[in-house]
Each structure stands twice: as structure tokens, then as C-alpha cells.
Symmetry: C2
Subunit: 137 residues, 2 copies
DNA sequence: GGCCAAAATTAGACTTAGTCCAATATTACG
DNA sequence: CGTAATATTGGACTAAGTCTAATTTTGGCC
């Protein structure tokens, strides 16, 4: 699936997001790479040719994307949030040495034995994080 | 199990931690309450009577406790780390509205279908986080 | 107890991720 | 094309956490 400007514009529109220049650039950075990126990485990528987008806009836009469910946030590192262009159900392997994040498709995974949720609470998502490190420390 | 000064000293010693006044206070704050607390909450608790412990010491101590596996860290909120005095295998329910964290005993839970880990990697822990919110938004 | 080296604590400067704000620029649309 | 609504901006600000060099406390030893 090639992410052309037009497919990105369509993607933004279909999520109720006004496709401005900066938003398209940020979406491109995330979707074309398909990687988990932090806000500062995205800021650097988007401005790598010529400076075009401010820090404030990157944060505004990522929060907008989150709200509109175009991306997910992955909270595994106490220092920064990662933004994940994959919104299919999936979990993560986190390499605590390198910071590398890898997806685990959720369709093969079953969790049994979870307790019922408290009355009047709804699940907003179930995340599994497998923290790994290089063998032999 | 009452957490007297002596049991705390013993607990620290058995984890290879020199039991200083501040470390005992911090351990007491965590273990007597048995709650998930952030560093700034612990700082406030420890200094609530008379100011006795600096911010640097709270952070130093919590990192030491982590390293010696006396506590665990829980990374669910992008803004702060929670420290968890329960080191038994367990998972968490996180109320995204209130920030409240609740334990789920891991002994009843089974996860099936996890992929094999990459060669020469070892699992360092598997965390399940069930994010919940109040029904009817 | 008293002495000293090693370990712990400290205040406060610093770093970094992220937010806020009021001014400016862009866009959508009649 | 004009204008109101929306988006972007630089830069000041906040909050969590780290660092540092100086001071204090501790533990071991006589």
C-alpha cells in the first residue's frame, strides 16, 4: 500500500481531520515508515529537508491523530511516548536495552482468567507488553 | 503483616540495601500503604510532618529499590512512573479517567499464542494493562 | 566512645518532554 | 474575493527526573 499524498489526504478526511500541509507531512512520516516514533523523532524527520513544522504543531497534530484514532500511543518508556501508525489489534515486544519496539499480532493471542471489570466500567483496551533484553547480562 | 521499623530494616537488608533513615521512611510510605505511588507523592508523604528528605534522595532511593527488586515500576501514564510495592507476579487495571491503578493477580491468568522470542533474547517480564474508563462517555 | 573512610544525602542548577499562549497565517466557503 | 473559523507559530512555561559538588551520616575498627 503506497502512501501517496492523495491516499494520505483521504485517510485524514475519513477520520474527520482537515488535511493541512503539516498534518500530511506528519502522517507521511508515520505511515510511510510504519514505525513507532516519538514526537521528537517525528519533529526531526518532518524538518529534515527544510524546517517546516514547529514543535507545537507536531504535538498538536499527534494529539489530534490520537483523538481521532488515526494512531495509537504506546507507553513503555518512562521518558517518552511512542506513536504507532498500526491501529489493528496488536501488542508489543519492547527491547529495554535498545528501546526497539516490535508488534505482535493480537489475532493469535488469547488471554484467559481476566477478572470481570468493576460495575459501570468499560475496557478501553488491553495491552500486553513483553519486555525483553539481550541474553546473558 | 505489620510493617514495623524492624521488619522494614530486615526487608531492606535482605535485599542488600543499607537501611538509612530516609530509605526506611520511603519504604514505609510504600509498603504500609501498599499503594502504587509516584515519586512526587512519595516525596510529599515522607515530608508531610517535617521536611526530612530531598527530592534527589527520593529518586535515588526509588531507583535503588528498583535495581534491588524491592519494588516494581508501572509505566501506564505518560507523565509519571508509579512505584509498586507488590513484586508478586501481577498485572494492572488502569482507570484512564482517574489514574487509579488496581492489581490483577497473575496466577489465574494465562496468555496463549505469544510468538517465540528472537534468538538470544530473554523475557524480562510480561505486563498486561487493562485500560478502563467509566461507562457512557 | 572516637576516628576515619566510604556511603548517603542535599540544594539547587540543569535537562527534556510536553503544554500554553497570544499573535500571525492559512483555509474554507458564502 | 472577503471574512470568519481553523491552524500554525515562537517562545515562554511546567513538571518529571538527573546531575553535581559539597556536606552529613554511617559503619567498622581500635
Amino acid at each position: 500500500m503506497p502512501y501517496t499524498r492523495d491516499t494520505l489526504v483521504e485517510m485524514l478526511r475519513s477520520h474527520g481531520i482537515n488535511p493541512t500541509h503539516q498534518r500530511i507531512e506528519i502522517a507521511y512520516a508515520l505511515f510511510a515508515r510504519g514505525e513507532h516514533l516519538s514526537a521528537d523523532q517525528i519533529l526531526a524527520i518532518v524538518n529534515s529537508r527544510h524546517s517546516e513544522t514547529s514543535k507545537a504543531t507536531v504535538y498538536n497534530t499527534l494529539n489530534l491523530f490520537l483523538e481521532k484514532k488515526l494512531v495509537r500511543e504506546v507507553i513503555v518508556d518512562p521518558h517518552k511516548v511512542f506513536y504507532d501508525p498500526n491501529t489493528d489489534a496488536h501488542h508489543h515486544i519492547y527491547n529495554v536495552d535498545t528501546g526497539e519496539l516490535t508488534d505482535i499480532d493480537a489475532s493469535r493471542i488469547e488471554i484467559s482468567g481476566l477478572p470481570p471489570l468493576p460495575e459501570n466500567m468499560v475496557a478501553d483496551g488491553v495491552d500486553i507488553i513483553v519486555r525483553v533484553r539481550a541474553r546473558a547480562s
